[in-house]
Symmetry: C2
Subunit: 186 residues, 2 copies
């Protein structure tokens, strides 16, 4: 049989897209098969655990990407203001100004949450903590840093909801700009 020369890693973006578009429940194996171009045989070869394992792999990859591209830079970028500005820019790029949604946010809302509760919770905790750290470095007091960090991540998630609901990317950018300004205002 013809081989598709597919690396497991190359599959993850495809899988992520399906889960993002249809949710965990709505992403049937038929859809996944169609999106990846792989039959069930191949899918179960790469992911013996089935859909659950596919979703876990996707979430793990997203987590890894955010850790290296968002969370770590927030701590290591020398100038705190730069760190924060970069974070908002990278976030806007990643989510394509709201055209792409946050899979972890989506999964946190529906009953799928229970399946991946730990991973979802940690993702947001890490994000909040990393931003809080940068805000402290910027000069905010502990209380304000924590509140601002939580509000900023909430703003990002809410912006994604609004941008999708209104089908309007400007909304996303407006909210992010406002949140960024709040962070940088001492």
């Amino acid at each position: 049989m013809a081989r598709a020369i597919t690396e497991k890693a190359d599959l993850l973006p495809c899988l992520a897209e399906v889960f993002r578009d249809y949710g965990y429940e709505g992403a049937s194996l038929a859809l996944i098969s169609q999106a990846t171009g792989l039959g069930k045989g191949s899918l179960y070869h790469f992911f013996p655990g089935g859909k659950q394992e596919m979703a876990e792999a996707v979430l793990a990859e997203i987590d890894a990407w955010f850790t290296t591209s968002i969370f770590t830079p927030l701590r290591t970028t020398p100038k705190a203001a730069h760190a924060i500005t970069n974070m908002f820019a990278a976030t806007a790029t990643y989510f394509q100004s709201g055209q792409k949604i946050c899979l972890l946010g989506l999964m946190g809302l529906s009953e799928t949450r229970d399946r991946f509760a730990e991973r979802i919770s940690l993702y947001f905790q890490h994000w909040i903590t990393a931003l809080q750290n940068a805000l402290l470095r910027l000069g905010h007091n502990a209380q304000k840093a924590r509140t601002l960090a939580i509000s900023s991540i909430a703003a990002i998630q809410g912006a994604l909801v609004l941008a999708r609901a209104l089908n309007h990317t400007d909304t996303f950018n407006t909210v992010l700009a406002q949140a960024e300004q709040a962070c940088l205002t001492l």
Copy 2:
């Protein structure tokens, strides 16, 4: 056969809960039947259009509730500051400080959006416009009123995502308090 003396209106909260917990796709007729205590026969008697009609009825009821309890008061409460404070309070009560999620926000995220796109979009537009109106009355300029209104609704939606993901109601209240303060600060 024994009658359950059920009014169609009494069914909607039950249906809403199922859709909220499992999403549109995940809410199977079996789950709906269990939650409402009605067999398929009764369900299809009340909702000949099936699941789609059930969801539409739920969304319509939510829309009606928000119109009378949130949107209209935002315009008609004499003192703008009171209108805004009341809105945040009513919102927190409705969503039980983040323990209950926003069905329209959830549906906006997954592919279910296409099914109810119009309704979802209008819901958020109405909310934003009503809040914007109150912010104008409070003394914000047009630009600021619009930006603040959008950011506030985003904050609420994001707070719901975070509260669920972190399983922490304090997070919800923190974000809402911050948003309310931003609205009331001229």
